[in-house]
Subunit: 393 residues, 2 copies
């Protein structure tokens, strides 16, 4: 592993194996030298995990100093004892770092329904705290479950008052993991933000990125995304241009990481991008784009490199797109028009060849309005079944 993702000024991070998982890193820690303005967005699954409920009541905050994450156990569906375990872990982290408990955020990912192995996790925190660096990779590795690759990105942008850095880290083989085990996203910046800005930028970026990916249409109990701004660059967003630049950069980074999750979906061999153009309203555009990425049948066709547009049209119907709109719609696969079907077959060989590529783009034009949306997913292979039939048994 090469370390190529720097953290913003004033942040350090690390990850180690504490013994919950056999050998892979399973405990990660981020620490800020300065109090952070912090925002979070969380799963809409009502069966939320203990760490999610904890962070929801703590945020927004302007005094966050650390964020701990364990992988292998989700601390979801663990009842009152799960809430107590979560608090014990937060308190132990605060103690190891000489912080107050309400300066520590937490996320967990892994198997649902089992008590946390605190006897393994807690003794490891002090040692982990000694091994922090200014690079993101070790933390990024420690939060993985069935992911094949760590997912990080860092950008430095020039605001009107000077340079700031944003670093993003995430995990997840989709909205859901083998055991519903979670998309986790972390954005760190040395910019000066207020809590309202942080929440707004994070929410907007999440809506067009993480909230538009799906591996298997199942909502996790633990999904969480965080934005921590420690202000160490001393550069605030002074005007509308700065705000726009920051928001666009955060959104672009979120999309990059979201696509990395979809591409690393369980058993995935291809990244699937579905664009809906010219819908009557935004909700329709989003709903249709996401529905196509979650159709098992279409995902199997993509895996088989089959340009089976009938399965896309059937999703139209299931999503209540009216026959009138269907009649005026067009569908392109890889820039080839597939619907309405051409009478001649002269482009068929080119289309078939293009479906073997690793990035599949479906472009739907409803010709019914002005709203657009893009969603990402992956194909479905036999490997998806294998992973999920074997997991946790």
């Amino acid at each position: 592993m090469t370390n190529h993702t720097p953290l913003p000024k004033g942040f350090t991070a690390g990850g180690i194996n504490c013994g919950v998982r056999r050998t892979r890193p399973d405990l990660g820690l981020i620490v800020s030298d300065y109090p952070c303005v912090a925002a979070g967005v969380f799963t809409l699954n009502t069966c939320t995990a203990a760490p999610v409920r904890y962070c929801q009541q703590l945020l927004p905050s302007h005094d966050i100093r650390a964020l701990i994450t364990n992988s292998g156990q989700a601390n979801a569906a663990t009842g009152k004892e799960g809430g107590e375990d979560n608090l014990t872990l937060v308190n132990a982290t605060a103690a190891a770092l000489n912080l107050e408990a309400n300066q520590v955020l937490i996320a967990s990912t892994g198997i649902i329904g089992y008590r946390m192995a605190l006897d393994k996790i807690i003794p490891a925190i002090s040692s982990l705290a000694q091994q922090l660096t200014n690079m993101a990779e070790k933390f990024a590795l420690a939060i993985l479950t069935t992911d094949l690759v760590p997912k990080t990105i860092s950008k430095t942008i020039k605001l009107s008052s000077g340079e700031i850095t944003i670093t993003g880290i995430c995990k997840g083989s989709g909205m859901i993991h083998p055991n519903m085990a979670t998309m986790l996203g972390y954005f760190l910046t040395d910019a000066v933000l207020d809590a309202k800005q942080a929440q707004k930028f994070l929410k907007e970026a999440t809506d067009v990125s993480f909230n538009m990916i799906s591996v298997d249409n199942q909502m996790s109990t633990n999904d969480s995304s965080f934005l921590l701004a420690n202000g160490s660059s001393k550069h605030a967003l002074k005007n509308a241009n700065d705000e726009k630049l920051f928001a666009e950069t955060l959104t672009e980074m979120s999309k990059f990481l979201a696509k990395a999750i979809a591409r690393d979906g369980e058993g995935a061999t291809k990244l699937l991008e579905v664009q809906v153009h010219n819908a009557a309203d935004q909700a329709t555009a989003r709903r249709l784009a996401r529905a196509v990425t979650t159709s098992d049948l279409f995902k199997c066709a993509v895996y088989g490199s089959a340009a089976y547009w009938g399965r896309v049209l059937a999703v139209f119907g299931q999503q209540d797109i009216s026959l009138d709109v269907i009649d005026k719609s067009t569908i392109h696969f890889q820039d080839y028009l597939v619907y309405p079907p051409l009478k001649s077959n002269h482009a068929k060989a080119d289309l078939d060849a293009s479906m073997k590529q690793e990035n599949i783009v479906v472009k739907i034009n409803l010709n019914d309005g002005k709203e657009n949306a893009t969603a990402w997913g992956c194909d479905m292979s036999e490997q998806y079944v294998k992973i999920n039939a074997d997991y946790g048994t």
Copy 2:
């Protein structure tokens, strides 16, 4: 194949290969000697196939004499030409049988988006009409697509005025087939029914049977179920007891056929039954039961014989079941309590062994009201992916 499913009095049926598919039967015909009261229920997919739209405008009727079904081509997403092809096929069937066009119902199932091979189908109708018998099997074979087995049932019941017979035939490897190619159901009876009764009984039976199964959560463009009553027994439903007996028998037969579809789901190795008990309202009971049967993750766990109840709880959360209700719920797998989890593990070996059976029953008790619902599905195996990656390419 043994012929063991008799048709009610006054009905004949048959099936042949007309050349759309290589060798398997692909054209089926049902004829009644007498005009039938006929009811139909159809897919809610807005992208309905031409035969569905045709039947929707024709029904209810009291003058139906024949029903033709082709397999291999769905005649869906075929535009105006598809509607014309459908009419041509209906007219040719009527002509071959000396009937009026509005005495003929039609259903199609197969690949979406291709014009019908009328040059093969139409010349075969007269020959098919010569080969009808009073058994259901040949028709049942002709309407299959990826189904492995034909699905038929016949019951004779004693009304207050005398005996009547109901015969049911269906196809479908779930709500959806490899190419969205359809659940089709046919119920024939020699009882005397009026159109209102026929519609009511069919709707009620469908709601608790076909509408409660899922193979892959995708709604077909061609789903159709029919009830034809030709009155040849001369026995009507004379009182509330007769109505109850008829309705219960039809419902029981519908459930039998619906379970046969789920068990024959693409790649399925196990039948999955999910019961929800004591929900606050009927909609919640149905929604939750269906959602569990459509969770790819849980279906993979069932395939792997894993008693992974965490995946069921995560569905609770996705379906907006509140934490309060989750806290007072219980979940049984195969009569073993799995949630809340027992402290001791003494029954674990028995539970694990029972998960290897071919029928898996999940019993959810929400302890939140009085409404119950049951849904059926199947497990998900690598074979599901193989079938759908290869199909239609």
